[in-house]
């Protein structure tokens, strides 16, 4: 029952995106432009490690672009009240939205990672694992914070401010998996982060959308 609700909500977002094509093309174009900007931002003799670090910057900012739009449809059409009134657990709204954010982010990275390998340096297994785990954390925390930002007056302006300090541990874990010789430690750290914050978000989402 709960999972059916979550599935319906996630499918709604994916269908909306399929018809309107608002967010995903913007994310794809943004991540590619960012990589080109990074090429010119890095001096010629800087190491490949610097480019890997910048890839993580690109991922976080692309995610922010998608997250800023995550609740746009709900807010503009007044769907929020309907969703909150619906006879299902409120955390299902969070989980459904987090899944659709995760799908968009994953699709953007399906383009970004090969492009990164083409432009800068090859991508290896631990790095892909790091990206997947980081995406889970970004989608979980980002969705809750996006709902918070949507309730405020500042909206899109506020989201990066509240999201980036919470994303710093994700960046540390992600960069650790992609530049060190011993990625296991960082993989476990990301798993810990994802589990901890997913539980907090799942438990507290109800308070973000209700009074």
């Amino acid at each position: 029952m709960y999972l059916a609700d979550v599935g319906a909500l996630a499918r709604k977002d994916l269908l909306l995106e399929l018809r309107a094509r608002d967010t995903l093309p913007a994310m794809l174009l943004f991540v590619l432009s960012t990589l080109v900007v990074f090429h010119f931002a890095l001096p010629g003799n800087s190491s490949e490690l610097a480019a890997t670090g910048l890839l993580w910057v690109a991922i976080v900012f692309t995610a922010l672009l998608g997250l800023a739009r995550a609740f746009a449809a709900e807010r503009e059409q007044g769907v929020f009240d309907g969703l909150v009134l619906a006879p299902s657990d409120r955390s299902a709204i969070w989980l459904g939205k987090a899944l659709s954010v995760l799908a968009f982010l994953g699709l953007a990275e399906l383009v970004a990672l090969p492009a990164f390998a083409l432009f800068f340096s090859p991508v290896d297994g631990p790095m892909i694992l790091g990206v997947v785990l980081a995406d889970l954390g970004i989608a979980a925390v980002g969705t809750l914070l996006a709902a918070m930002a949507a309730a405020s007056r500042a909206r899109e302006l506020l989201l990066p401010l509240i999201f980036l300090p919470l994303a710093i541990p994700i960046i540390i874990g992600g960069v650790g998996t992609s530049v060190t010789d011993d990625p296991a430690r960082y993989v476990w750290f990301l798993v810990l982060y994802d589990a901890l914050f997913a539980i907090i978000c799942w438990a507290s989402f109800e308070y973000v959308v209700t009074e």
């Binding site: 809750l144 541990p169 540390i172 874990g173 650790g176 907090i200 507290s204 209700t210």
Partner: protein, 228 residues
């Protein structure tokens, strides 16, 4: 005496804070022995005390946030906000004192080696955004909820960030960096405890002063509404 104390709790607390701060300053400069670091090490008594006090404020703010969500306690929202406000002030003081210490120890105003300083920078950014969030939502139960959820995120972020920053040392500074000085002697530890207590008393006083002011503000607004 006991009725006077009950009626003038804030005055008594302020007097305690003043006495403790005076005693702490006297102990730090005239009692605690100098060690290998010289005079520079004196700031440590304040720096560490202030940092621990900032944690206490954030923790107290988190506890009050939990009360908002769990018990629907109407006063807790304001208390949580004031506690976090004091935490941010003490956090900024931690950054300043830590920066002065780094300047005299290593010759730079900022030192990424120093985990505690980096952590406080992250926390400072996080809690500064708390104010942005709080002031862009109209007052009411919704704002209380959003602030409380965000404050609880902060409580989770502290241990996660400590772990993350320690892990980041491995790829940012491959060389192990030993920042531990000699262990504290008995008299140094006593001085440290007194200055920590002084900072806690100071924070508690400021917390109650600000809370009283904010409550008067709220009451005044209610009266104005009633008169209209």
């Amino acid at each position: 005496m006991s009725t006077w104390l009950r009626n003038n709790r804030l005055v008594a607390l302020a007097a305690l804070a003043f006495t403790l701060v005076t005693v702490a300053v006297a102990l730090v400069f005239f009692y605690a022995p100098l060690d290998a670091d010289g005079l520079n090490q004196k700031i440590f008594y304040f720096h560490v005390g202030i940092a621990l006090t900032a944690y206490a404020c954030f923790g107290w703010g988190g506890w009050k946030a939990l009360r908002v969500l769990w018990k629907r306690d109407d006063n807790a929202d304001l208390e949580s906000y004031v506690a976090i406000h004091q935490g941010v002030i003490f956090g900024a003081l931690t950054l300043v004192t830590g920066s002065i210490w780094a300047r005299y120890r290593w010759g730079h105003w900022w030192e990424w080696h120093e985990d505690q300083l980096v952590l406080f920078l992250v926390l400072f950014l996080f809690y500064a955004a708390y104010f942005m969030l709080r002031f862009s939502v109209p007052p009411g139960p919704r704002r209380a909820n959003l602030s409380a959820v965000y404050a609880l995120f902060g409580v989770a972020l502290v241990p996660v960030s400590i772990l993350a920053i320690r892990l980041s040392e491995r790829f940012i500074h491959p060389v192990a960096f030993d920042r531990h000085g000699p262990n504290m002697s008995g008299s140094q530890f006593f001085t440290f405890c007194v200055s920590w207590a002084a900072m806690l008393a100071l924070a508690a006083t400021l917390y109650h002063v600000e809370l009283a002011g904010k409550r008067i503000d709220v009451r005044l607004r209610e009266l104005r509404e009633a008169l209209r």
